[in-house]
Amino acid sequence: MPMQKKKFQSGEGARYVTRRAALNKLQLSLKDFRTLCIIKGIYPREPAHRRRAQRGKSGIHILYLKKDILFLLHEPMIWKLRDLQVHLNRLRRAKGMHQKDMIKRYANTIPRVAIDHVVKERYPTFIDALRDMDDALTLCCLFATFPKLKSIPPNLIALCRRLTVEFMHVCIAARALRKVFISIKGIYFQVEIKGQTITWVIPHNYPHEPQKKQEVDFYTMATFADFYSTALGFVNFRLYHNLNLYYPPRLGSYNAERLEEEILEENETSDRVAALNLPLQKTAEDVEDPADAELDLDTFAMDGDESKAEEARKEYEKVRKLKKLFEGLKVFLNREVPREPLVFALRCFGAQVSWDETTFPEGATFPETDETITHQIVDRPDLEKQYISRYYIQPQWVFDCVNARELISVEKYFIGTPLPPHLSPFTVEYRTQRYVPPEEKALTDPSVIVNKDQELLDEISDNDIEDIEDDKKESEDETMDADDEDLDEFDGEMTEEQLAEIKRKKMKVESGTPEVINKGKLRREHNQMKLLKEKMIQKKYRNLYKSMKSGRMKREKEIKLLKYKRRIHERTSVENKRAEIRARRAQAATLM
């Protein structure tokens, strides 16, 4: 008799293990197992056939791949975790027995579970690590705002704060910021480092609101924050060294007195670093500044796709300009303005920033009375004392400038004026055919200038309005007549040329004539080709194509109509204004 095959010895039943089985295999408590899984990046899985994977058991168990658990088995950290457990047991016992010296000894010698190697293991290359920084930064920024909580180790909060500030510093040094978006949730920042875009959220600067414990598992999140903070630390180290900066950041002016202050300071992050306002000290002197760094892009494309290469070149040029966007500006922040995000956004593009010393004691470089200040950022309806030499603008100007990649005119952002809408830079334009009002166009493409009423008044004569109304009819007529006209023109030209040729001698260098492109004919040919192509469409796609075409036509019509309406609206408004002016003048004349 052959060996009987047992059930679930192979296949899906053998591939999965329940969490309980995993705990037994690893000889860990559930708490430790959770920590280990989060740090090592092992997550539960859903099998294709749950009944089979659970070896015939009903219900829903949390399942892990057996391979993953075997992988965890090889982790040297497990031994550390077991040691830690023993140590904590001893500490607990000492506490219970009121042995003061023992408590002190055990509390001071809690073994440290190092996870450096796990960071390297999970992110084999630096780029991998950068790709995963989105979550890390969001979580660290969030933890940095927390007060001391029972379920979060106290040094973690300080560490998160330190690391996020350091990361911001490196972004400033590398001029890496690309996009900013102020949402009601928080402020979104997007930086580009080594070709990777990293997006994260900074919560608004408000006091901590106690979280509901039933919503979020604090212990789990603290473990995540623990891992991510370690990863972020090593990323920071590498970024600093790539830019030739000292890693525990050193600020430009470093002398004995400062050192003394820093040592005496209780906080792990010194306020001077957190001010984000002083340049970092470099390890080497004659290094190229990332703002001035230039790249020689090839003028010819490798794959022959020239349009793409051209696009890339344009993008690069834009980014190069963006890096120096605020260069030469001297900005003063009023005290009601959120300091940190604004300083970060301004300094990332080379502006000089200062603020009221009473709001944040360290790092303010010049006082409000400085006459060389070009912009003062204000977020209140009115200000008593104003200097003539500077613009008083609202904070949205900074963020809109960054998103538009150009210095927007400040008029719309003056103190007290209602602001234009703050658009999200993260939107993906999915509908290509829609009416884009000129204001919106101007937001994305600064080259388009919205016609102002005054200009219109100057430009347009009275007759123009009628002309525009006729425009549409004309364009329609054109399409109809185009064919006949073109044919006639063409024939005429041909005969002239022939005549000239007959007149001339045969062996002679002729003067070049510009090639005449018959646009009408070309269009006609193109249309014919299109019709032929349409005929080739398969029967099953024909209806789809028809609906697509009709939709396109409809959208075009809508756009045209909206444009037309807009024009009429503009005209009427101009007319009204003009009438007003006339009336005023007439009044003045009568008075005279």
Binding site: G59, D135, L139, N155, F234, S424
Partner: protein, 448 residues
């Protein structure tokens, strides 16, 4: 040499008794003494022992330093010229003792700035304590990022590891297997991290444009419309659930329910029900069993049976004829069967493909990892009246922490747990010392 003694040669002790080794011993003893004290005087040269005094001055005796060992201890000192084999109990001093010196060096610039020595000393003291506490803190925290993880440069400690790796590279597998038993380190291959594709949902990356603190009207309206759509769906679902579960059952008031129960329980008990009505019923109705026994009265007649039999036979014949007919037609159909089979295969393949595609889509989307299903909570939003249009007046909405947590759940990283509505505290049982118990007698005693 003395004369030989007679004796046995069998055992070791016989041999010992036989040979006299005193001369050898004395010689060796002399040799050892020589080693300890040095060469004998007889072998030393005159210059080593004496020196010629040419100056004629009296030599001054040096004052014994206080550090010199006491005379009484001289007997304990070893006079042997042989150095001791090894010091057994030597206390190893840790290098940490150097720390203080280093620290003093590092704070030199501070000393310069401060003029008074006294102040300097005091400050030094304070600084030292501060630094110590800071160092302690640093040791406890694990924020030491002092190496580049992603360089090819290797640390001094990594050398061995690399060597093993290199060796493994070129050794044939049989040799490795053989040596693995001897050198356990060789077999310690590193496992590669299992690749795990998490869900592709990246909701953290793209905030809705309507979430802006100062959005355009269209964006804001679209955001609100999205949320309203979700909300109406939720309401609809809830209504459906109510209809299907709660509304299916009749709702009865409490009193009526009790009455019904009493009625049910007292059914048929004398004194609770109206007997008169029952009696009337009994009188009118005839007794009838549920399954009455078969009687000869309603037996089938022979004619009826015959008819039934004929019908049955006819039916069977018809069926047989049909089967025969089908057989013939199948013969003609043979050539089509192949096509049918192909079609069947085609459909099954298509189904298979569809199933695979579905599975792939499922892999990308959120999956069910535990008992509880993931339900996405509504996005944050601000009503038009809350949008003030300035940064100063905007009220933050939503909870980023919760979003983080939910995004992890959405990406299949965390399993959805049960919402902890109560915090379970351990029940501590309190005992009272019997000595402290208050009894009524005591109360009476103290006249309370």
């Amino acid at each position: 040499m003395k004369t030989k003694k007679r004796g046995g040669r069998r055992l070791k002790r016989d041999w010992r008794r036989k040979i006299d080794v005193t001369d050898v011993d004395t010689y060796l003893e002399g040799k050892r003494l020589e080693e300890r004290i040095g060469d004998p005087f007889s072998q030393k040269k005159d210059e080593e022992l004496f020196h010629i005094d040419t100056s004629g001055k009296k030599q001054k005796f040096k004052k014994k330093s206080l550090n010199a060992p006491l005379k009484c201890l001289s007997s304990l000192e070893s006079t042997s010229a042989i150095p001791p084999l090894a010091k057994r109990s030597v206390k190893k001093y840790k290098k940490n003792n150097k720390k203080d010196d280093d620290f003093d060096k590092s704070i030199k610039p501070l000393k310069k700035a401060i003029v008074k020595k006294k102040e300097a000393k005091e400050l030094n003291k304070i600084l030292k304590t501060k630094v110590k506490t800071l160092q302690l803190k640093e040791n406890s925290t694990k924020d030491l990022f002092d190496k580049d993880l992603w360089t090819s440069y290797r640390e001094p400690g990594q050398r061995k590891d690399k060597l093993i790796k290199n060796v493994i590279k070129w050794l044939p597998s049989e040799v490795l297997n053989h040596n693995a038993k001897v050198l356990p380190k060789l077999s310690n291959k590193k496992m590669s991290h299992p690749s795990q594709t998490t869900c592709k949902a990246e909701d953290m990356k793209c905030p809705h444009p309507g979430l802006s603190y100062n959005p355009t009207i269209e964006d804001h309206v679209s955001l609100l419309a999205n949320i309203a759509k979700k909300e109406t769906e939720l309401i609809k679902h809830e209504a459906h659930m109510n209809r299907v579960t709660q509304n299916l059952f009749k709702q009865v008031s409490k009193d009526k329910h009790e009455q019904m129960i009493i009625e049910e329980l007292t059914e048929g008990l004398p004194g609770f029900t109206d007997d008169t009505v029952k009696e009337v019923n009994e009188d009118t109705s005839e007794f009838k069993a549920i399954n009455p026994p078969a009687t000869r009265d309603n037996q089938k007649t022979i004619k009826k049976r015959k008819i039934q039999r004929r019908l049955r036979n006819e039916e069977r014949q018809r069926m047989n004829a049909k089967i025969e007919k089908k057989k013939v037609s199948d013969l003609y159909r043979l050539r089509y069967i192949r096509e049918e089979l192909d079609e069947l295969e085609n459909t099954t393949n298509k189904k298979k493909l569809k199933r695979l595609q579905k599975r792939q889509i499922n892999n990308i989307s959120t999956r069910r990892l535990g008992t509880n299903k993931f339900t996405e909570s509504l996005d944050a939003f601000a009503l038009p009246k809350d949008l003030k249009g300035t940064l100063r007046e905007t009220e933050p909405q939503g909870n980023i922490f919760k979003d983080c947590f939910e995004s992890l759940q959405k990406r299949n990283i965390l399993s959805v747990g049960k919402k902890q509505l109560k915090i379970h505290k351990k029940k501590v049982q309190a005992f009272m010392d019997p000595a402290f118990k208050v009894t009524p007698d005591m109360l009476a005693k103290y006249s309370v």
